[in-house]
């Protein structure tokens, strides 16, 4: 007996982009961090590019797939680390959902990235405070976390803006050519 899953080009695109994000997550896990919670969040570059190219729905898929699959690979699935990462991603996506409506003339990927980074830290610290360490001492690290979010949010935003400028512009259709040529996935149209 054979089970056949029917997939669409959109599924393939999301899977490939999520794989890129998971790769960045794994690479980042090797970077030592001075303080738990302070890390570059390189995978968010992919989320930002996907948001700009394919819209919020695809960005949410890529971000959440990255969190789940990344935690499976790192062995943290369903651990507190996973819950922190998942809640951070959810609040980040909420922030992106709002920030994407800012006028594009004035606010670009850097704004999106900084908002998402600050929201990420807010979501994580919310979980830390209400679940893990219900103690006001957590607040003493807040300025460190927000400063790190500003720094890495800006760097990731610049990276995303750089990629968006280099990647070919939007083209109207996603067809056979994109399916055969994975490099062309970025040229495809936004998800409906």
């Amino acid at each position: 007996m054979q089970i056949q899953l029917s997939t669409t080009p959109d599924d393939h695109r999301i899977a490939k982009l999520a794989a890129a994000a998971i790769g960045l997550t794994l690479a980042e896990a090797a970077i030592p961090s001075p303080l738990p919670g302070v890390k570059p969040g390189l995978a968010n570059i992919v989320t930002l590019v996907v948001l700009a190219r394919f819209g919020l729905g695809a960005a949410a898929w890529v971000s959440l797939l990255r969190v789940v699959a990344g935690s499976l690979l790192l062995g943290t699935f369903l651990s507190p680390t996973f819950v922190l990462s998942f809640s951070g991603a959810l609040v980040s996506l909420a922030a992106l959902a709002l920030a994407q409506h800012l006028p594009a003339r004035w606010f670009g990927p850097i704004t999106h990235s900084v908002c998402a980074a600050l929201a990420h830290i807010a979501g994580q610290l919310g979980v830390v405070f209400f679940w893990l360490i219900p103690h006001a001492g957590v607040a003493y690290l807040l300025p460190v976390f927000t400063a790190a979010a500003l720094l890495f949010g800006t760097l990731n935003g610049v990276a995303a803006a750089f990629l968006l400028a280099r990647l070919p512009a939007l083209q109207p259709a996603c067809g056979e050519r994109e399916r055969k040529n994975p490099i062309a996935i970025m040229r495809a149209a936004p998800l409906k």
Partner: protein, 124 residues
Amino acid sequence: MNAVAYFRGGDWLILLLGALFTAWLAATVWRGGAPSKIVIRAGGHIFTEARLDAPQRITVPGPLGNSVVEIEPGRARVAADPGPRQLCVKQGWLSHAGDAALCLPNQISVELTGAKRRFDSLNY
């Protein structure tokens, strides 16, 4: 690659707001030196302790007469004192934990205390 070229006008605004927010957080969270209470002593005994969150005037009796301590949110001073040289009055507003004003002739002292004590005691 010129990173600045990727910034749009509003991006700078967001960064500025973020930096201000961080500075505000740091000022709020890390103000270990901010006073929270005032301790008024008369004749070597604690006359009263009060919180520094609402304005009020406290009259403290001493051997020479009444001294008046004025409290405002976050700071306090000796507003009036019968002492001859008015040293504690001229000291003005005290606004840091550990600051103290001594009205020696009238045997009154005013000290601000915070969450953390910066030192155990002072000797003059």
